[in-house]
Symmetry: C2
DNA sequence: TTTAGCACTTATTTCCCGAGAGTGCTAAGG
DNA sequence: CCTTAGCACTCTCGGGAAATAAGTGCTAAA
C-alpha cells in the first residue's frame, strides 16, 4: 500500500476516525466507526483496515485494548486530501460582521478586536503578529517637540497608518531644522519602503556635497534613533483561556508548556513570520512545529495585507485535535475582512 | 479569650504556624511547631494552644489527623500585628536597581519593565494599572494632519508624558484652525487637569461671544472626540507563569479561575483602583477580595504617583500563602522608584 | 473478501489493608 | 493551675488484588 495514496474505503475510514477523534477527544474504536457507517460493514472489516492504517503510520493506539488515535500524519493527510473546504455560511459571516464594528482608527486596537471575535467564534486562542515597519511604504515623518531634547516622531505610511514614538535626542535641534528634515524626507523618499529609505539615505550621505552633508547627517542620526522603535515585530494574543477548556490541557504539564510559549512570544512570532511569504492559510500540526512546548498544539495562520504587501498574520492556536474545517475557513475569512478594514483606514 | 488580643505565647505560635505554612505549603503539626521552638515546650502544650486558635478562627484543619492551616483571619492578623516590616537590604535594593535601567522614555514600556523586574524578584505575577488621564495636568495639545479628515492628536502633560491618538473627524478642518485651537488650549488651560479643562471649556462655551463661539465649539467637539481614547484605565500584567509554580494552582480548577481573572481585567482594575485613594501598600487576602475566582489569591498593591497625584498602582498577585514580608517591602520600594523615574521623565 | 466468534491484553475502578501522621483526651506530675 | 507523657482514635495515602470493561487480533467459516 502506498503511504500517500489510499483507496476510497481507507480514505473514508481515516476521515471518520479523524473527525470522530476531533469531536470526542478519545480514542476511536472499530465499532464506533462501523456505527458511523450505519453497520454497512462489520467492525471486523474496519479492524482490518485499521491495522493497515496503523502500519502506514496514520493512526496509533495508546495500548493494545485502546482505540485508535490519529497521528500528525493523519491530520496532515486529512487537511491536504480529505477536507473539502467549506466556506462559512452566510449566517456565520453575518454573525462575525455584526460583532465587528471596525469603527476604530487605531491599528492595534482594531487587530485586538478582530482577534477577540475570532477567538470567541472558533473557541480557540487567537494570535497575530504585525511585522516591523521595514516593509512599509513611507509617506511622511513629522516631529512634535515635547521638551528641549525630547521629540515625538510621527510616521505616516502611504496607506495612512500612523505610528508614533518618543525619542530622547543627544543634542538639541531647532524647530526650523526639524521642519527641513521632515520636508526633505517626504520630498525625497515618499513611496519607498522604510528599508529603502535607510539605504538611499546612506548612499546619499557618502556622495553628498558639503552644503547638504549637515542636514543629511542629522536626518540619518534621527532615523537611526527611531528605527528600533518602529521596526519591532509585535505579538497579539486573545482568549488564552480557551486553551483551558481542552481536555489535553487539563494535564498541567501540557498547559504550562503552552502558556510558557505564550509568554515567550518569540516562538510564535517565528512561526507566524513564515506566513508572510505566501498568501492564504497555512496549518502547522503538532510536531511539525519546531518548538517542543507546542507539540500538542496546532496552528492555523493566515497572512493579512495592507494594499499590496503582507504586513502581518493572524490565526488560532489550539489542540492538535482541532476542528480544522471551521478554523481554516474562519481564519481565512477574518484575515480577509481585517485586510479590507485596514485598507479602509486610509480613506 | 478575646478574638483579636492574643497573649505573647499565642502570638508566637500563630506566627510560627503562618510562617511555616507559607514556607512549606503543607499543614503544620504541633510537633513541627514544638521543634521550631527547640522543644522548650512539648507538642502537647502546643496542641492546647492550637485548639484555642482553632476555636478563635485563626486556623483550621482539613481533616482530623491533618495539621493546622492558617485562615484569612490569621494572615490578616499576621500582617497587621505580627509582621515587623523589614526593609529591603541594601544588597537587594542594589540588585533591583541594577536591573532597572529606566532609560526608556515611554511610560508604558517603563511600567512593563518595572513589572518584569518586580515579578522576577518576588516570584509572583506582577500587575499594575494606570488610570485614565482625567487627573493629568494638561500642558499642551498638538495636531498632526494625516489625511483630510484624519488627525493625530498629541497630548503632552505638565510632567512631560506624551500620549497620542488618531481620530476621524466628521468634517474637514483647516491646518490654520488647528493651530489656533492648539494655541488656544495651551494658552488658556495649561496647568489644569484634563477634567477641569473640559469643565471650563463647557462653561466658556455658554458665556462666549459670537466671535469666539465658533472656535470654542470646534475645540469642544475635538475634545469630546479624543476624550474616550485618553480616559481609559489600563491593566498591565507580567509574569503570569509564576502562578503555575505555586502548588495551590496545580489543581487546574484553581488555575483556570485565576487565569480567567487575568484575562477579564475588570476585577483586577477594580481592586487596584481602591489603592488610588490612599498612599502606601494595601494587602487583600483571599476571600477579602470580592471576586470568587481569586479567593485563593492575595494581592499586595501600592499606588504610584507623578509629582503630587496618584496616577496608578502596581503590585503582585500570588497565593494566599504569600511571602508577605518580602512582597510588601518590595512592592513599596518598586512603587517608589517607579514614581521617581516617571517624575524624571519631565526633565 | 467479509464476518462472526472468541481468546487475549490492558486500562479503569473498586475495595481492602496497613502504615503513617496528627490529633484530642486523660491522668499524672510540677 | 499549667504542663506533659501516653494512648486511643481518626483520617489520609499508597499498594495490591479482584472485578469490570473496552477493544483488539486471529481464526475459521460463509
Amino acid at each position: 500500500m502506498s503511504a500517500t495514496l489510499l483507496d476510497t474505503r481507507r480514505k473514508k475510514i481515516l476521515q471518520a476516525i479523524v473527525e470522530r477523534y476531533i469531536e470526542t477527544a478519545s480514542a476511536v474504536s472499530s465499532e464506533a466507526v462501523a456505527k458511523l457507517f450505519r453497520w454497512r460493514v462489520s467492525s471486523a472489516t474496519i479492524r482490518n483496515v485499521m491495522a493497515e492504517l496503523s502500519e502506514a503510520g496514520f493512526i496509533w493506539q495508546a495500548h493494545t485494548s485502546g482505540g485508535r488515535i490519529p497521528t500528525d500524519k493523519a491530520y496532515r493527510y486529512y487537511i491536504d486530501a480529505l477536507l473539502d473546504l467549506e466556506q462559512l455560511t452566510a449566517a456565520e459571516r453575518q454573525l462575525i460582521e455584526s460583532q465587528y464594528l471596525g469603527r476604530n482608527e487605531v491599528f492595534d486596537e482594531l487587530l485586538r478586536e478582530v482577534l477577540r471575535i475570532l477567538s470567541h467564534f472558533v473557541g480557540y486562542t487567537a494570535i497575530a503578529f504585525s511585522s516591523g515597519l521595514r516593509k512599509i511604504l513611507f509617506k511622511k515623518l513629522e516631529f512634535v517637540s515635547v521638551e528641549s531634547t525630547k521629540l515625538l516622531v510621527v510616521l505616516v505610511s502611504a496607506d495612512g497608518a500612523v505610528k508614533t514614538t518618543v525619542v530622547q535626542l543627544p543634542y538639541q535641534i531647532e524647530q526650523e531644522q526639524l521642519f527641513k528634515i521632515a520636508r526633505f524626507l517626504s520630498d525625497e523618499f515618499s513611496g519607498l519602503t522604510l528599508g529603502e529609505v535607510k539605504e538611499r539615505l546612506a548612499a546619499q550621505l557618502l556622495a553628498s556635497s558639503d552644503s547638504w552633508f549637515h542636514l543629511l547627517r542629522k536626518t540619518a542620526d534621527i532615523l537611526e534613533l527611531i528605527w528600533p522603535n518602529f521596526d519591532k515585530d509585535e505579538l497579539y494574543l486573545e482568549g488564552a483561556n480557551f486553551i483551558f477548556a481542552q481536555p489535553e490541557f487539563q494535564n498541567s504539564q501540557n498547559l504550562q508548556a503552552v502558556l510558557r510559549t505564550f509568554s515567550e512570544e518569540q516562538p510564535l512570532l517565528e512561526i507566524m513570520k513564515e506566513s508572510l511569504e505566501q498568501d492564504g492559510v497555512s496549518v502547522h500540526i503538532g510536531k511539525e512545529n519546531p518548538y517542543q512546548d507546542i507539540h500538542e498544539c496546532s496552528l492555523v495562520i493566515c497572512n493579512f495585507k495592507n494594499k499590496n504587501s503582507n504586513i502581518g498574520a493572524l490565526g488560532v492556536i489550539g489542540p492538535r485535535r482541532m476542528s480544522y474545517s471551521k478554523a481554516i475557513s474562519t481564519v481565512r475569512y477574518v484575515a480577509r475582512i481585517f485586510s479590507e478594514s485596514i485598507a479602509g483606514l486610509n480613506l
